[in-house]
Symmetry: C2
Subunit: 332 residues, 2 copies
DNA sequence: TTGAAAGCGCTAACAG
DNA sequence: CTGTTAGCGCTTTCAA
């Protein structure tokens, strides 16, 4: 048994309603059409179950209702939250977004970028995997781009960031005023965002002179990254009373590792990480969090895509949000 | 300044390589073409930076490299993990997937389904928001469908599930053998998956006769759902020594609520929920988890989409995974 | 083998 | 205001 799956087209509707395809197109696009004709068209649309084929629309038009979101890790709650913010912009506009997880792998990221270009998406929101991420192909194809979470060296694109330097400073001030004196830092595999956080932290530490940075270690921004990094420090016999971690998942790893390390009680260690408020049950413990607002960042990114669609020669702008200190409720 | 963003087309390549567009098409699609012509085409492709326009391809072909994943909550780690499994199938096939979060709202789900049809996607993987979810539009459009996580009343579609009844039974056995005697259940807003888990739990409880179900309460499958549900039970003065929750995020809410409820120590309560292994730092505490394998489920769903693409009249199959008891490591 | 040309479904000139 | 028609970029018969 073979079923003919050919979908209802604008021609079917035109024939059924005894009008031209142009009229059908006008009606479905909300343009002015004589009352009775519009009625007939609408009726036929309903009867036949016509849905405009977006593929055909996209081929014809310059704008697309499909966007791309490319992030380092779409299992990270920071990015899923950001996706929510983006959705808020997309939903009422009837657009959908395909999401790619680069896993901080430039090649995988390149793949998704190529797909985005091949799909002629209407816009790309991306948290670049590295400084070397090349977005020129998008620009050449006239595709709006917004960078989120991590900036790129040349500020040629709209960028939505948190003030990461300030975030690092916030973290240092927290540890200092909470009475900690010797800290270790776990940073993400080199990327501008992690660097800035580290810089802000170090600058503040230097200024007050009360806190000592025993060591800095790098990890892969995922749970295991934090786990192995702190594990190595412990095995090296480094002594510390607090930990500063530049990302959320690595903080989990750090805490796990300390729970596993019999020689030390986690209760005596101070933790400060980023975006832990998105991690259920973690916020509200003896852990401080430097919180961004990923939902708002996603929203803004979406708005900038729209803006660029309407004004393709707009100058790139940088939007920087202020981070907040949170998650301190438990017996300090 | 206005830039001409017209992308390189197959015609540009044809002209540049002094061949016909058909030849270019054949080369880029790996068909047999005379050696020297192929060389010329490939060179031109590289020089001009030609990338086939997928929109045009899709309009012409019947198959699409864009799929849809529609889930109740794309911030839930169970579904992001499932998305990973799906990605494993899509990546090597050069296909991408747009994801929609229905938020258990039939209308929002309908919207994403309509978008999927309008986009003429190559396949839809969906965890239905309710029994009333209508997938017939997809079938009519000849779009392969795979249902995951929750089944639909009529078994007309490929379905990838965990044996939820067995999962509930596992949970009951755990609580019983851990010595608990009076439990409350927090279930998801009525859906077949939650029901089955509850049924499995109740059936086992009845069989052994050792455990008593004090009350069943329903929540919205998110953190607040669990929080308010257990909160109400506490306020009603229900007494219990353990809690069975049919979903992961609600378990978080339950634990949070108990932490907030001064009159009770969380340490004396036994918890068993689903998929808590995906929740960082939760697994390994005095909490048991009935674990599914969302990654594998996503993979299988993807494979079934491919299968249906190749064999459109294949009979629907049901795939049921066995759940596992996990997360018991901490002082029982 | 290769090329010319039709056509996927839609929108937007253009003509009436 | 409505209809006719070209054409978006691609694949695929069909002829050469």
């Amino acid at each position: 048994m073979t079923i003919d799956h050919r979908a209802v087209t604008i021609y079917d509707v035109a024939r059924h309603a005894h009008v031209s395809v142009a009229t059908v197109s006008r009606v479905t696009n909300g343009q002015k059409v004589r009352e009775d004709l519009a009625k007939r068209v609408l009726a036929s649309v309903a009867i036949l179950g016509f849905r405009p084929n977006r593929t055909a629309q996209r081929l014809r038009l310059t704008t697309s209702h499909l966007w791309a979101l490319i992030v380092p890790d779409f299992e990270n709650s920071f990015f899923t939250r950001l996706a929510r913010g983006l959705e808020q912009i997309c939903l009422p506009r009837n657009t959908c977004v395909f999401v790619g997880s680069s896993d901080d792998d430039p090649q995988k990221e390149r793949h998704y970028l190529d797909v985005a270009i091949a799909e002629r998406v209407g816009g790309v929101v991306i948290a670049p995997a590295s400084d070397a991420t090349d977005l020129s192909g998008l620009t050449e194809a006239g595709i709006p781009v917004v960078i989120v979470d991590r900036s790129l060296p040349d500020n040629r694109y709209d960028t939505v960031l948190t003030d990461n330097f300030a975030g690092g400073a916030l973290a240092a001030n927290y540890l200092t005023s909470a009475g900690y004196r010797k800290t270790v830092c776990i940073a993400g595999s080199p990327n501008p965002t992690s660097e800035k956080r580290l810089e802000g932290f170090a600058a503040t530490v230097n200024k007050t002179g009360l806190l000592d940075i025993a060591k800095v270690k790098y990890g892969n921004n995922r749970i295991e990254g934090g786990y192995t990094a702190i594990r190595q420090l412990l095995e090296e016999g480094i002594v510390f009373d607090s930990v500063f971690v530049t990302n959320n998942l690595m903080t989990i790893g750090v805490i796990k590792a300390l729970d596993d390390w019999a020689a030390l009680s986690r209760d005596n260690i101070g933790f400060v990480g980023f975006d832990l408020n998105e991690i259920p049950l973690l916020a509200g413990k003896r852990i401080a969090s430097i919180d961004q607002n990923p939902h708002e960042m996603g929203r803004l990114a979406g708005e900038r895509i729209i803006f660029q669609q309407q004004q393709s020669d707009a100058a790139a702008e940088l939007f920087e949000f202020a981070p907040k200190l949170g998650g301190l409720s438990w017996k300090l």
